[in-house]
Amino acid sequence: MEKIIQASELTKVYGKANEKQTEALKGISFDIEKGEFIGIMGASGSGKSTLLNILSTLDHPTKGTIRINNSDITKLKGDALADFRSREIGFIFQDFNLLENLTASENIAVPLSLQGVKPKIIQQRIKRVAERLSITHILDNYPAAISGGQKQRVAAARALITEPTILFADEPTGALDSKSAKDLLNMMDDLNTNDQVSILLVTHDPLSASYCQRILFIKDGKIHQEVKREDQSREEFYRKILVILGNLEQ
């Protein structure tokens, strides 16, 4: 399999040299393969947010390298970094982060507009991704007028419209009710299975995590444990996760 993300020996130290320093990441290495649905779990303060920020190029590691699609993102700066982000990475966040003064379809169009894609092609791509995510009927609505689940679908459409190398999902179900959360997770599963979208899901919710094929448990800035779902059913995997989380707390 083709490796789309290669992280090696990631370290992150906060605080300047002469101040009190905290080490949030203490040398983390892992790979993600194309088409994988991978989860990152850990308690608050475990370093999982730091890891996600570094993977998604929003923050720089103190040491170590990350290659996404064979380019070393730790060497990118300024505009090149912004461009890389808009081309290679799709984001969905817990609080949706939609622009509330743009309609759903305008929100979805933003990343392509940024890349200078022709308006005609943008419209076609919006239509396609909206049909795929069943949000065609709400395209002209403003975010304030649609439900949380719909907002997260619009956010997903915006993330996927550039056909990124990987989709980063940061607690995407955190602000949703249980039904909307399940819908969203099924949708992500569907995208992963049928459209081969690679997904990295950061969560502390075991149910969300049970949709992943592989989970990295982070504790105190290190990978504490790695589990694979393999042939287990989702329920079996869910219970296994609960047990691991229980042990992790000890």
């Binding site: 906060y14 998604s56 929003l58 923050d59 300024g78 505009d79 912004a82 461009d83 890389f84 982000r85 808009s86 081309r87 990475i89 984001f91 966040f93 982060n97 622009l99 509330e100 003064n101 743009l102 305008e106 169009a109 933003v110 990343p111 392509l112 507009s113 940024l114 200078g116 308006p119 005609k120 943008i122 419209q123 403003y142 304030a144 007028a145 915006r158 993330a159």
Partner: protein, 601 residues
Amino acid sequence: MLWKLSLTGIKGRLKDYIVLFSGLVMASAIFYMFESMASNEAFLKSNSIISMVVFIFRFGSVLLGIITFAYILYANSFLMAMRQKDYAMFMMLGAKGRKIAQMIFIETFLVGIAATAVGSLLGIGLASGVNTLLVNQLNLQISHYAAFNLQALVVTLAFFSILFLIAAIFNARAIAKKSILALLRETSTPAQVKQRPFMLFLQTVLGICSLAVGYYMMSDLMKFQLVGIGVALVTIILGTYLVFRSVIITILSLLKRTDAIALKRLNNFTLSQLSFRIRDYTQMLSMVAMLFALALGALTVGLGFKNEIPIMAKSVAPYDLYLNNAQNASDEKVAALKPTLDVTYSLKETDDTLYYNKDQFNKNNLLSTSTNQMSIDVTYNKLSGDQLAKDITAQDQLRSYLLPEQRGKEIQVVDQTAFDTINAPESSLRMVQVKDFQASYDALHELAQTNQETNTTETADTNFSQRVFVYDTYNGLFSGFEFMGFFLGIAFLTMLASCLMFKILSGANSDIQRYTMLKKIGTRTSLLKGSIRKEIGVLFLVPGILGMIHVLFGLQMFTTLMIDPYHDLWLPFGIFIALYAIYYVVTIWLYTNIVLRPNKK
């Protein structure tokens, strides 16, 4: 304990507080400066030809009061936008609502009063500074102006105390009434108002028609008189408001509907921000446009009067200098002027008659002012010796160059042979024109002065033919006007631009999230900055342009008072645009610092 927390909050946002504080200081300084003039009737009366000016200044004072009030409201909303969350957090921690309301009341009031005190002091300093500057730079003649004026100081302090008291009560009520959650979560979520296209169209038409009516009234004020001013004031304010409410919105939504524009880069975001802003800011922007027009108008008219002075002097006195009994005057000094015209006329004087040589006037015609010369390029009638010989009215032109005791005598313009036979003492009248009157002003003044001293009966007061004296008289009359125009213009501009600045900055906090989000999905910082520049640029530009159009039409009102109110428009417009641009740049800088604060790592 709460006070300590509150002070820590202020420390954390020191930069924003400095912006707020300096804005308030400027407002009170300007108000004081204006009051120091408006409440000084001796100054006003001694510096203006029309007694109306005292009234005009009262009116200006009220206007400044209104805009200061609006200004304080916007500055206050900036303060609240900063502090609301802090105070709501204290309440969440268990502080009582009444205690918090009391705190915000005291904070608002203290900040306001401190700013007013500093501002008044600054005002006194500025007033004397501006006074000397204007007097020196513009060669103005100002009398009876004192920088320190107790009445003005009292008025300023009282007015601002009342304003801040109102603002403080307002803030305290806002905190006490709203729920903690509403305070914490209050970010201005743009309400998506669906406007019916027909209503929008109707408003657009109505807005443009109102402006047209107003402009028409101003262009023909002679016909409509005072009613015209009233109607124009109402229709232009209404028109301005409707233009922002409908015309701009229509243009923006048309742009948004054009995919080729909207789907390019961040345009859609910028356009949406703008249409949200303009809807929200309609009243504010209309006010800015109106004040812009008033301020620029005041500056233009003030400078216009300055330009008028030499032109009026020219149209009253055809020659730059004339010398009676020129045979006694210093030839070298006249030659030093490098005259473009230097003519000497001979005259012989008996007890009851003055004789001139006709041939000399036929050779070099006498220049006289023409009656219908409302133009920058002053032209003169030329009177030949033959005309002067026949026409008694024409002789009056000649008479104006005579010494007072000569004026009652009969004038005879006779030919060379007749002139030679007359047996009477001969003297000469010398007429001089130079290339640039203002450049040679000092030398001309000296010669005119000497002329006056050597011909003792000549006095400046009775003399409206000696150009330097005419110039001095007009300069004295119009300097007051110019000073007021200049002052009002700059004061209004400072206020309106800071109003706009505060309004925009108080919205900045709710924009942080939008810009952060765009940054996350991979928008280049340069694009974000570009979007900010465009958005704020339009917010500054649109009222500015509308204000300028108002002024261009409004100057029509002065066509009856001034020779050409449109002369050298670039100067006031240039000064104004430059100052306005400074505010634009400062606003962008502050706004960018708020919304694009570098990530804390």
